[in-house]
Assembly symmetry: C2
Homo-oligomer: 348 residues x 2
Amino acid sequence: MKNKRELFIGNVGIGGTHRVSIQSMTSTNTCDWEATLKQIHALEKEGCEIIRIAVPSNDALFSFAKIVKESPLPVVADIHFDASLALGSIDAGADAIRINPGNIGSKEKVKEILKAASNRHIPIRIGVNSGSIEKKYLSADLSMAEKMTASVLDKIKFFEENNFFDIKISLKSSNVTETVSAYRLMNDACDYPLHLGVTEAGTFFSGSIKSAIGIGSLLIDGIGNTIRVSLTDNPVEEIKVAKEILKVTGMRNEGIELISCPTCSRTSVDLIPMVKEAEKLLAALHPNKKITAAIMGCEVNGPGEAKEADIGLAFSQKHGFIFKKGIMIEKVEPSHAINRLVELIGQM
Amino acid sequence: MKNKRELFIGNVGIGGTHRVSIQSMTSTNTCDWEATLKQIHALEKEGCEIIRIAVPSNDALFSFAKIVKESPLPVVADIHFDASLALGSIDAGADAIRINPGNIGSKEKVKEILKAASNRHIPIRIGVNSGSIEKKYLSADLSMAEKMTASVLDKIKFFEENNFFDIKISLKSSNVTETVSAYRLMNDACDYPLHLGVTEAGTFFSGSIKSAIGIGSLLIDGIGNTIRVSLTDNPVEEIKVAKEILKVTGMRNEGIELISCPTCSRTSVDLIPMVKEAEKLLAALHPNKKITAAIMGCEVNGPGEAKEADIGLAFSQKHGFIFKKGIMIEKVEPSHAINRLVELIGQM
């Protein structure tokens, strides 16, 4: 993993040796500060660590100031087009701001924003999307990933020339291959922390898969410092997907990873409802370490996988066998097997 | 992309210049040939191209012979432990067999299988899972990915020494990072086509995410020739996830990719139900080319993304605007916008 600079959004560290954090964005009308705070609380409860809020107008800015004071999570103001809204958000107490310097107005305006953010010691995310490439690169003979990267590097240079280094980068495309290529290029090109996401990923089903591929393939190569899954759905769903991505890529050292086989002709127990039941019961447990639990339907890969897991349950034709750290510890009847497994995990 | 040898399972080409194919495995009791054929037909209807069936007993083998004759899809026999079942499946007309040579008995037995497969010109998948590593590598000072790769290379060598080259490889682990590492090593180490999958991936939700990361991150780097998503659920669900993975990684040149934004305070229309409605209506269309359709809630990334897509719909405060190949072609009322978009896509 490449070492990245460290920055803080409120009390959440990003880059350096900090773990990969989860963020989302409110979908409420920012002017409705009660609804927005309610959504932030729901997101926090699900595991969101940083919240971004669009500030598209002066009315929204007025409400934003109230939200920032009450929010249980550090708040990032999302600003487009209007530098005065960026300055207003910084004054209002934003823990960070996100701008696309290409659409915020003149260089002088950007300088004013950098100065204001510097004075309050808050970071800025430079966010470029494939839909908002610098004009001079649009017709260049470069791949989309190279165009996005070049656009961001230009902006970084300008920030650095103005002594601003508290920078986080995102380069999102709705094309997952382009997104991954752009982040790989950027990871090599600078040591600023990276905010990962696939933009406009789509509905819960297709957006989860697209985000999992885009974000997950970067994380397994050690690229990325904070993530946002983007879905056209309730943002609480984004957090569920984000947590799952961090879990299966080994980025979090707590929680239960449930491994289970797809069942086949060799399976003599009715495994699908058993695994669903286990998933439901295990969701109530919140271990502060990582536990891998396997539920396997037959004797082919069953014992092997069950042994490799911290705790495992494998079925033969008639019985269940529970393994712990590679050793068979109990023979159980299939009808009691799931409850017993969950009980043992609860004791771990 | 690394060039791989070409082989055929029935009429489906794998490796060479063939497109990445989708496979699944029946979860019915193979002895119940009617239920198994019913499941195969359901899988074919969803888009499955190759079907694998476990043959764990002589009774199953008897039924397997009937299934092979009736199956609309090429059939792979999945064999463990018993070489005579492998020979029987080959005789019964299997289009390919999958064995783990480490559990099938002596080298002489493997040779018999190679000879029988050779005579019928059918390929063999060598499938090694992290739970079934060769004993001699188990305690070696190697990563799990290296152990899996070394195990397979041993087996390949033996096959080659016996003049058998019609080989397909899989190296599955329930750990997605290990899986990706193993396939990357294997992709460099040989030119046999690769069957991608994350084994025992889990339930629909977590299994989809795990499979998307494992399979997707390999596909975007040009690794992989056929895929199987493994879920503890109805195998038809596996095909839906597999198709989505191939679509978003650009492996298929047909179908509609729906891009939509996560909505935020800037969105003034109720976008989530509109996008869900569009997803539902678009599922009925089966274009024989790839169409990217964008539905965007606001003026920030909206027009940019909508222009990049083949067809796009972006909303301002009061109106919808339809773009085709980058040019705004229609202004629509939000209430009619989705129907009009779907209508226009239907005409493409």
